[in-house]
Amino acid sequence: MADELKDMVLNYVTKEYLEDDSEPLTYDTPLISGGIVDSFSMVSLKRFLENKYAISIPDEEATPEAFDSVNKIVALVQRFAAKKA
């Protein structure tokens, strides 16, 4: 699931947050600390992932640090998906 998930998150973040003329993202581009995404806007990504993988990420885990790159987001989702299984 990892690669598929990685690309899905990357595509989602690109479509949701980037302007048309922005530099393309990598899996490690700092999103929140890099000023690409403000921490508010992470809400929709969180809800999207929760719906898609039928998981629930508690607010105290959904920190700006945990959402700061595609790789970190993927790790977070995998952790909760594993918990569920």
Partner: protein, 415 residues
């Protein structure tokens, strides 16, 4: 000593960082009343200089209007200077309620509540009407005061790309399970001067049972045929659930703001909004001035009509001169320079030519979106605009940016 060298040094280093990044803001002291022609001391200690003001929110030219000043004097005589109380203890005069009723009629809403400022209106309204079971969906370019108000509220917060109505619809679907949904936008966006698509927004929000809040600070008094605001321009008067606006710009320019809209929502603010409950409201002298402003603009559209003509003239002139502008049809006309230092240098050169127009850069606008925001007023005469245009053209030539595209300007001056 509590304020140790270590503490002081930390702040000094931080301030130096702001300075080194070219992001340091400095005030210019104006020695005259607010108007198209002003006298300015800049830098501090320099002799006074007569300049044309191209960056005030004095859209209707009422900030120093003789009738408004006279009404304020009369208010001072009949209602005194201060109230020494918040509204609900003993700080409400008859004229406060009179102004609320006038605003309700003017905006075509159900009720209105005054606040010390629109910043305070925006700080108080969300927490007063929403809970953690609700969601707020805001445009990504809304004013900082809305962002702060949203932060103070326990509702979930999501954002949409600027004026992207498809994105809004997706978000309303994503958050369909929430108790209430509130969509938040500026009417006219203060930094870009474009207008929200309120007609489409209202249509979508009706479909998904969502409420709409519009901050019409840069619209009230002059946008729309009779100046009611963006809801008039977009044909949705009576359909905006909450309008917040300011008396600190077109409507006399002194200070104060309000929340206007659905009766129950306004009443919730009267019961719960903290800046209303815990801070003195607008001073009687200012209320008296605003009442006169509302009389003037309710009787005649002469001023907003002149403003519209002036703004069209200005936009056309800058376009023909070869500047990169943000598109729009409001009196906010941003001249895009992209680089923060360039924006400040152009501003300084304009000042040398007798034109007062400020550079805006991060964090007031996004990185590499630095600009000079020009703002047109009904207080400008054509000779002001001609003189300003000549100065802009001269400075544009000096920096070699006329007829250049965004990419060319960035290539020359950096992001």
């Amino acid at each position: 000593m509590g304020y140790s060298d270590k503490i002081r040094g930390t702040y000094q280093a931080q301030l130096k960082g702001i300075q080194d990044a070219g992001l340091f803001k400095q005030e210019r002291f104006i020695h005259s009343p607010q108007a198209a022609d002003i006298e300015v001391e800049f830098p501090a200690g320099a002799p006074l200089k007569k300049v044309i003001n191209m960056c005030a929110n004095n859209y209707l030219g009422l900030s120093s209007h003789p009738e408004v000043i006279k009404a304020a004097h009369e208010g001072l005589e009949t209602r005194g200077y201060g109230m020494s109380s918040v509204r609900f203890i003993c700080g409400t005069q008859d004229i406060h309620r009179e102004l609320e009723q006038k605003m309700t009629a003017f905006l075509g809403t159900e009720d209105t509540l005054l606040f010390p400022s629109c910043m305070d209106a925006n700080a108080g309204v969300f927490e007063a009407i929403l809970t953690k079971d609700d969601v707020i969906i805001s445009d990504r370019l809304v004013h900082a005061s809305l962002v702060d108000g949203i932060r103070l509220c326990s509702a979930m917060h999501d954002t949409i790309k600027h004026s992207d109505m498809e994105h809004l619809e997706e978000k309303l679907q994503l958050h369909a399970d929430k108790r209430f949904k509130l969509v938040v936008t500026d009417g006219v966006f203060s930094m870009d001067g474009d207008t929200a698509k309120l007609d489409e927004m209202v249509r979508i929000c009706e479909k998904y049972d969502a409420m709409v809040l519009v901050d019409d600070s840069h619209s009230s008094g002059f946008i729309g045929k009779t100046g009611r605001g963006t809801h008039e321009k977009c044909g949705v008067v009576g359909k905006i659930d909450v309008i917040t606006t300011t008396f600190g710009k077109a409507l006399g320019g002194a200070s104060g703001g309000c929340v206007s809209g659905r009766r129950e929502l306004v009443e919730m603010c009267r019961q719960r909004a903290r800046p209303y409950l815990f801070s003195n409201t607008i001073a009687p002298v200012v209320v008296s001035g605003v009442l006169k402003v509302m009389d003037i603009i309710s009787k005649s559209t002469e001023r907003r009509d002149k403003l519209e003509r002036n703004a069209a003239y200005w936009r056309k002139g800058l376009t023909e001169a070869g500047f990169v502008l943000k598109e729009g049809d409001t009196p906010i006309v941003p001249v895009m320079l992209f680089n923060a230092k360039l924006a400040q240098d152009v501003s300084q050169s304009l000042y040398d030519e007798g034109i007062y127009a400020i550079g805006f850069f991060f964090p007031v606008v996004p990185q590499s979106q630095a600009r000079i925001r020009t703002q047109i007023s009904a207080g400008h005469e054509i000779h002001h605009l001609e003189q300003a245009l000549a100065a802009f053209t001269k400075v544009g030539k000096k920096f070699d940016i006329l007829g250049k595209t965004k990419q060319e300007i960035i290539a020359k001056y950096g992001m």
